[in-house]
Symmetry: C2
Subunit: 223 residues, 2 copies
DNA sequence: GTCAAGCAGATTGTCTGTCATTCTTTCATT
DNA sequence: AATGAAAGAATGACAGACAATCTGCTTGAC
């Protein structure tokens, strides 16, 4: 089979870039949860027209990254502990499954990528850069989800993680969380590298539970 | 406590109604998969302006109910068997979990609602109305998902079911599928009614696997 | 002084119209 | 028949406008 050159670089539209910019802004906490976003202001800040902005807002609303109430406009959602818990519970379901599947099917090359990601997190864990911690930890899980053999699982997981990204960055800056997180992730890596599905599932489940507990601690103290 | 009358009927906007109309149209197969949707045509058919339509399209695209390729416009996605399988696999994960949780926490009143839904499907199964079969079967699962105690699980499940709704209606019109489906659903109901979590999980898993197999049969013969 | 009514500003929902850019298809050429 | 170019169609993006709705503030009454 000849190499497929039909790669067609997707043209990046204004609305796509706007979605990504706003997504990032929400991730990194530029907007306080509960903040009302005003269309006209965002238009100016982003340098785009109102129709383009509104299209981007519909996308974000469908992803549940913003709330969109008729006649009141968009706002950054305020998650309750119940909602955060619910998200973590589904994440557990997905990540345990993904880790288990991954252990049975990951390719040698991807395993090395996982190891690289783990080392990157190791480095970030010992630093003061809490953004780097979240990023590298997310990368680690990205590799697992990308190799679980189910793109839908990956897609849904990405969406869920996005919705609680703000809380993750807070909990990851807790004293000692990065260190214990590293140990848990190493367990997951070892189990996957060994091809031990049962151990991989167990380790992934444990990791999520710990992350949930850490998030709860940060929510209790933070607000 | 006085009854909460602060229910505020959400004003229905044009774009919301458009999203629902198009969603329904895609569900019921008005557009053949692969069909390109043309903005100007849809505007006329729906009697709305292009900006409103485009906002609705962004929402649907974020829900993965349509494909939206820059400069080529929206089209109804053509799902491959691999994608359908992936969706069914995640559905299995979610439904098994939901059935298990539901068996442990469902209220008496909701259990009766589940029974009612089961009977409704029983009636539909013996009829020739394949739309009613899909609808009542969906209602049955809605009750389970609504009582699993995790709204995120419910939300994600709804999104996944929507994406394969077309295939479900095809498989449900297969000879004999409704009958065996009924037996499987009765098993699930019995397990939940008995509060038997293990049995509920097992029955839910079996039901999904059967549904997936039926869908595969209908895809093989249908295309 | 407190509370309710009403008014003005701000914001969103929606439409019309326009223009550049990018496909898509047709047609002429070789 | 394959190539290439040009015409047509469709989308991406913007500006401007207006009605409906919400919000907050002022005014007025008790």
């Amino acid at each position: 089979m000849p190499p497929d050159l039909n790669l067609r670089v997707l043209p990046r539209t204004v609305q796509q870039e706007t979605v990504e910019k706003l997504r990032l802004a929400i991730f990194s906490g530029v907007f306080e949860p509960g903040t009302r976003l005003i269309e006209s202001q965002l238009c100016v800040q982003l340098g785009i027209s109102r129709p383009s902005l509104r299209e981007a807002l519909r996308s974000l609303a469908a992803e549940r990254l913003i709330d969109l109430v008729p006649n009141r406009g968009p706002s950054v959602p305020t998650l309750t502990w119940e909602e955060v818990t619910a998200i973590y519970e589904v994440r557990e379901l997905l990540e345990v499954e993904a880790a288990g599947r991954c252990s049975q099917r990951i390719a040698e090359e991807q395993l090395r990528a996982l190891e690289t990601a783990l080392h990157a997190f190791e480095k970030a864990a010992s630093s003061k850069d809490s953004l780097a911690r979240v990023t590298t930890a997310a990368d680690f899980y990205s590799v697992i989800l990308a190799n679980c053999g189910n793109p839908i699982l990956e897609e849904i997981h990405r969406g869920l993680v996005a919705r609680i990204s703000l809380f993750r960055s807070r909990s990851m800056s807790l004293e000692g969380r990065a260190v214990s997180s590293l140990a848990e992730m190493k367990e997951i890596y070892d189990a996957i590298a060994a091809g031990d599905e049962k151990a991989a599932r167990k380790a992934a489940g444990k990791h999520i539970l710990e992350a949930m507990a850490a998030t709860k601690r940060s929510m209790d103290s933070g607000s």
